[in-house]
Subunit: 319 residues, 2 copies
């Protein structure tokens, strides 16, 4: 993503974290929806968020509160720590939100990933993609109270990403079968990640944990072997979904209809309320998405439907 | 493993269950040690264990108590259920134990796998290898009180095997890198699986479970990618090893020296007391094994050392 000019537009996409059995550990990127961030480099020494559209005025413009600018500021701090003179490094940032906030689709991650990838490009790429991860994790801390990586890592790197360890940070890219598609339905209710975490217990049954990690191991194996049936058999969350789904009206009906329509599996995206289904092929993903949206109708919630291949490439520059 | 005669000798090998982060979920087969079972088919309609050597008289000869004959009897029951006339199907079974009992190396699994694979061959292979699994699981129930599959599945199929689910039974073979070797040290103390299970808590911390399943996902990825470093980073058991290792004198010293000698990782084999280390290459495995044995010296326990490549093929006929 080299650039010779002083400005760049970067698109970064939504992500599905947890992926049924991979709570706080696994996530993947989809192609749509996503956010677009325009950066203009200048020598003011100041990082400013000059404009945000698509957020209904809900996101902060203050540099130390906005996730996009926080990621860029954290990156500049690291350059300074390395001995670079950053006194004249400045950016004007415009954020075009094209995805819902609080949807469980990694909205904050998309903006901050796009911003930091753009700023890195305008500075001549002092960091590799993977090296940018701590900076966007810092902005996740601002957004949802904890420096989780299961949205930002796939938004940054594309594909399925496993966060094997936080201490030390160790993220691992997982092979993604070509024909893996995703249908996501976002019902128009809003859940805060913090609330969705609060209802979880601090201890779990050992027997449940064994079932959960066996499924996660099966999912990883299925992805790497391109064994769609195994992926489907493994997409099961016996610990968190039964609790969190209570916060999503219509969840059982939507999931039931997704599976009836042939989805490999279906669960809550991140902490919800969006519901994702993994599917083999575009045609099936469209049929599954349609049936999921239809299942929401009796609950009289507005919904958005996104059909997309798993994103294999991560953020990209746009005109 | 077709045979035209009425007798066969089958060797089945030891297995390492749990594999650090894959408690009750993952296991792998090694080449040595193992048990040899000789079967003679006859038309008596009776399954007899006629001789056991190498067990110091500790294993039962009664057909309904011995794990090898139980597996064969369970197989014959299934044939009967399918409508076969089994009234004249009989076997004389001789078991040559060439591995320690109660060692955490799947001793009971090796004998029953060898027996059932041999009986299946003598009957013209009415069952595939995978179809034999429920029969040997039944004999595990006799041996250790629960129908676990994490020893019998790798003993039967070779390589690394994931038990994704028990209900329905779903076992998945995992790719094994060619250069993966294992050093196992068996200290001469005996732990009963039941006792080693009893000291485990029924509930675990969610935060610990997340670390554990992230490591298991990393281990699976490392195996399939042939990424030895990732295998090493993932071989960590933060839940069970700290508790179970208290039952094994010298564990910390042995593990510490294995890692110092360059092992990828080191943990308890099954429920112990054997300790395994995974290594890259034979040379390293030999060096690691030597240092592990040496670390046991101050504890004044006799030890057996086994160095072996991961077994890729499962049971085999022997002369």
């Amino acid at each position: 993503m080299k650039t010779s000019s002083d400005s760049i537009n970067v698109y970064a996409s939504a992500t599905v974290a947890n992926v049924a059995c991979g709570f706080d550990s696994l996530g993947f990127a989809i192609n749509e929806p996503g956010d677009e961030v325009a950066l203009q480099r200048n020598d003011s020494g100041v990082v400013r968020v000059t404009k945000i559209t698509g957020d209904n005025g809900r996101l902060p413009l203050e540099s130390h509160k906005n996730t996009a600018s926080v990621a860029v500021l954290t990156m500049i701090d690291e350059l300074k720590r390395r001995g670079d003179d950053t006194s004249r490094v400045g950016f004007d940032i415009q954020i075009k939100k094209m995805m819902p906030l609080g949807s469980g689709l990694g909205s904050s991650a998309a903006s901050s990933v796009a911003a930091v990838v753009g700023a890195n490009a305008l500075l001549g790429e002092p960091f590799t993609r993977k090296e940018l991860l701590p900076f966007v994790m810092q902005s996740e801390k601002i957004a949802c109270g904890a420096a989780h990586a299961d949205n930002v890592a796939p938004a940054l790197l594309g594909g399925f990403v496993l966060v094997r360890s936080y201490d030390p940070l160790d993220v691992v890219q997982i092979h993604v079968p070509d024909d893996l598609w995703c249908a996501v339905v976002h019902p128009h209710i809003e859940l805060l990640t913090e609330d969705a975490r609060r209802i979880l217990k601090k201890n779990i049954r050992l027997d449940d944990a064994i079932i959960q990690w066996s499924n996660l191991a099966g999912l990883i194996t299925g992805l790497m072997k391109e064994d769609y049936d195994l992926i489907g058999r493994s997409l099961d969350d016996i610990i968190f979904e039964p609790v969190r789904s209570l916060l999503i009206p219509g969840f059982d009906a939507v999931k039931g209809d997704a599976l009836k329509a042939g989805a490999l599996g279906c669960s809550i995206s991140g902490s919800g309320p969006s519901i994702f289904a993994l599917c083999r092929g575009e045609e099936n993903a469209r049929a599954v998405g349609k049936s999921m949206e239809k299942a929401f109708v009796p609950y009289q919630l507005g919904t958005d439907l996104y059909i997309s291949q798993v994103n294999h490439v991560g953020p990209r520059t746009v005109a």
